[in-house]
Symmetry: C2
Subunit: 140 residues, 2 copies
DNA sequence: TTCACACTCATACTTTCGGGTGAATTGAGT
DNA sequence: ACTCAATTCACCCGAAAGTATGAGTGTGAA
C-alpha cells in the first residue's frame, strides 16, 4: 500500500513535468485547449485504471488463495503441531508409510497421531478428516 | 462488459459538458489553467479507479464460486456415470460399504468401480483420487 | 522435583482398501 | 443376431488403515 502511494505521488510529479512540457508546446505551437485537456484526461484515466487494479489485486489474492489458519479450533480441540503436520500430509494424499518417511518417524507413530486426530475431529476415516479439517480451516 | 463501455461513454459525454462549464467559468472568472487541468485530472483518475474496480470485480466472483464440470476429461479418460457417482460419494468421505448402501449395490461392485476409477485417474489411493478429480474439475 | 503433556514407538488385533480374475446381465448400436 | 461397453457381483489375497493398550523420553510449568 505504501508503495502504491509512493508510485502515485511519483506519477503526479511526472505529470507536472509533462504538463509543463505540453504547456510549453501549447504556447509555442498553438495547440488547442481541447487537445491539451484530452491528453491529460487519457493519461489520468490510464493512471486511475492502473491504481484501481493495484487496489483490487490484493483483494483478489486474498479471496482466492490466502488461507487463514483457525487457531481457535486447533486449541479448542487440543490438536498438536505434530498432528497438524500429519494432517497436512494426509490431505496431500500420502499414505501413512509415506508420511512416516517424510517426518522421520515410525509407521506406528503416524498411526497414533492420525488416530488421535480422528478422535479430535470426531471422524473415523482419513477422507472425512481431510474434509472436516478444510471446513474448520485447519488446512487450505 | 457492454455496460461498462456504455457507462464509460456516458461519463465522457458528461465530461464534455463539465468541460464546457469549466471553460465558461475559466473565461469569466479568470481561473488558472492549472486549476482547470487539475480538475480534469482528478475527475479522470476517479473514473479510472472506478473502471478498474469494475473490471476486477467480475473476476473475483467467477473465480470463487462457479464450478464447470470437465466433460472432456471424463470422456477422454472413459469415466462412466456410475464411476462418477462413486467418486462423488468417495469425496464426501464415505467408506466403500456406505457408498454401496447409498447406491443399492454390493460392496464388491463399489470396489470394482473405484478400482477402475483409480486406473483411469492414474492414482492408487482414494485420497489421491479425490485430489486429482478436483484438479480435473470432475467434482467441485 | 513433580506433574502434565506432547511425542515417540511397539505389539496385537480388526477392519477397510485395493488388485486380480472371472463371470452374468443388460442395453445400445451395427 | 452379434458385438461391445457398462454394470453388476463374487472370491481371494495382500497391503493399508484404524483401534487398543502400554510404555519410554523430553520439556515446560507449578
Amino acid at each position: 500500500m505504501k508503495k502504491t502511494i509512493f508510485l502515485y505521488g511519483l506519477a503526479l510529479a511526472l505529470l507536472v513535468l509533462i504538463m509543463r512540457m505540453i504547456e510549453y508546446r501549447f504556447l509555442v505551437r498553438d495547440l488547442t485547449l481541447e487537445f491539451y485537456v484530452g491528453t491529460v484526461a487519457v493519461f489520468f484515466t490510464a493512471l486511475g485504471i492502473w491504481v484501481g487494479l493495484r487496489l483490487t489485486r490484493k483483494q483478489v489474492v486474498v479471496i482466492n488463495s490466502e488461507f487463514h489458519f483457525n487457531e481457535k479450533e486447533q486449541s479448542q480441540r487440543g490438536i498438536s503441531k505434530r498432528e497438524l503436520e500429519v494432517l497436512a500430509l494426509m490431505a496431500q494424499g500420502l499414505a501413512n508409510q509415506e508420511i512416516a518417511d517424510k517426518l522421520f518417524v515410525s509407521l506406528n507413530t503416524v498411526k497414533t497421531h492420525s488416530s488421535n486426530l480422528f478422535t479430535k475431529l470426531e471422524v473415523s476415516r482419513r477422507t472425512q478428516a481431510i474434509q472436516k479439517a478444510k471446513e474448520l480451516s485447519l488446512i487450505p
